[in-house]
Amino acid sequence: MKTPRILLVDDSKATRAIVAKMLRSYDCEILEAANGALGVESARQHQPDLIVLDMTMPVMNGVETLQTLQADETLKSIPVIMLTANSNPEEIEQMKALGAAEYITKTQKPRLILEKVIALIGLQAKPGEVPSEVST
């Protein structure tokens, strides 16, 4: 069975590191990109199974990136989780209307984020590893 690929697109190396750490007990390949433009390029090259996408980024922000992904026939079926510092109901609705599968705020507990990732792509724990009660 193919190892799921997860692409983390966030200009903050620290946030990418936290999300990657959260997923390290699970059987998946992590790819990283520091802005939306690099994220789209990486998605085209690697065809990830899931994209975790920050909202506020330089070069190409999360909304522009999501629109670019949705406009690309080869990428539009990849589920996208928006990861953001904001939690306005209007923004959540906007992201869902643009095609985001889920919306996570950075202040949510990592366990909740992980649950959403697992629900979307069904991650399995690595053999011999007990997934920790995720903490940063």
Partner: protein, 165 residues
């Protein structure tokens, strides 16, 4: 209707934002303090700033010592003890903490239905950084401590108290 004054609301929101963000991102327990910030003279500080524009117009500053900033970067990036911490990693960590706090505050203070955006974070470093509010701007400062280290959140907002109700 809120029974709190605008300043009390702001304190509540900033306490909540700071405590939640440091707990979630770093598993650090911040304690609010009324005794004010006591940065030792000659100790380098790192200040992360994020602008909020729209139905709320403000700047949030997160001020910590450089050693605390390094500790935060180490925790967020999973850097092993003794491993070098790059200045860019420290900037990234403090900028991101300020960004997430500003995002949470924006959600609390904004007017529903009206747009409000965050700027990208910026970082200042120095030994004695004085930030002053301009005419028409209110300055609010909130101090927290963790292990004897001060963590200060400063909030500069346009004088529009109705935004904070």
């Amino acid at each position: 209707m809120s029974t709190l004054s605008p300043d009390q609301n702001l304190k509540f929101f900033i306490d909540d934002a700071a405590i939640t963000v440091f707990d979630t991102m770093l598993a650090i327990d911040l304690q609010p303090s009324d005794r004010g910030a006591r940065f030792k003279p000659g100790v380098s500080q790192v200040v992360g700033t994020v602008g909020i524009a729209g139905s709320v117009t403000a700047v949030l500053c997160l001020r910590v010592t450089e050693s605390f900033a390094c500790h935060a970067a180490t925790g967020m990036l999973g850097i092993e003890p003794g491993e070098a911490v790059l200045e860019s990693d420290v900037n990234d960590a403090i900028g991101e903490l300020a960004n997430i706090m500003a995002g949470k505050l924006k959600s609390c203070l904004r007017t529903p239905g009206r747009p409000c955006s965050l700027s990208l974070p910026a970082i200042m470093r120095g030994y004695s950084i004085d930030l002053e509010s301009m005419s028409g701007t209110e300055r609010h400062s909130f101090t927290f401590y963790h292990g004897g280290e001060p963590v200060v959140v400063e909030f500069y907002s346009l004088n529009q108290k109705e935004n904070m109700l």
